[in-house]
Amino acid sequence: MARSLIKHLIEKEGIAAILFLAFCTALALMFPAGVGTSNQAPTVLHAVAPWIFGPFQILLLYLPPWLGALLLPMVIVAGLTSLPWLVEYMGERWGQRIFGFLFSSIIFMLIWFMGKELWWT
């Protein structure tokens, strides 16, 4: 019975899984995970957050901790979480705009962090 080779979802997801594993293995073989600085001989550190927490570090750098590290992150997460209800009460356009604004500000801070800490210093 003729049927196209990659017809079923399972097959497609399977191929995606193999590609993902291959990619992950390639990264693991090519780029060792960092270990940081030993704590046996303490030095004065310029501590940089892992990239995932870059937006946090940017907020902390320029704002007082109660605002940058507590209030704003809570507001941002609450905003992202409430997307379905924003859309319900404010309409699709505004709901998605607010989500887009919050998410892109995270990405913006991430790029800011990377530029500041990783690429230019």
């Binding site: 995606a16 992950c24 780029f31 995970a33 270990v35 704590n39 303490p42 957050a49 892992p50 997307l83």
Partner: protein, 208 residues
Amino acid sequence: MKDHTTFINHIRPRSIPSRALSVFYTFCLGGLSFLAFLVLGITGLLLMFHYQLGESTSFGSILTISSVIPYGGVIRNLHYWAGQLMVVTVNLHMLRVVWTHSYKPPKQLNWLVGIALLMLVLFLDFTGYLLIGSQESGAAATVAVNILGLIPGIGAGLAQSIFGEPSALSGSTLVVYVWHCVVLPMILLLLQLYHFWRIRRDGGVRPL
């Protein structure tokens, strides 16, 4: 359609909407996130054989794993990269859900579950970073403890129950270890299973 009434039918349904077969609808991002989770579980378990928790031992054992234990380096790198990629795939998956408006009723509960999953993944990433036991991890733990300490009343207690008492030179404490290796992965696994079950309950992955 009584497809989802029994467990067997749930995991092996007789029919699913043809639209759900399109890779370009989901880009497999949810499935890949789960795959990354499985890779992390397996490699994490292997790392536990040789990781030695302790303010003065964690860092050294990471070095030993990376360069002395056979295949230790590649296992640790796999754990690291799968963790980084999981953060990426989960975020892209969330964007896909927004793009296809899949957060709308009846799927809003699963959206909430998703946000919880995202937070757990980020927290797992952070606790993993602390377990390296480097000076950087000590600095990170100290910042986190100070931030939580800002919460009036419960802050200090909260910080201690999440991070223990990390020193400025190493973030690896027993409390962090238990969160990272046992509690968070368990909660993440259970929530993911619930997430998958809800997808079917909410009518499956297809345009609303």
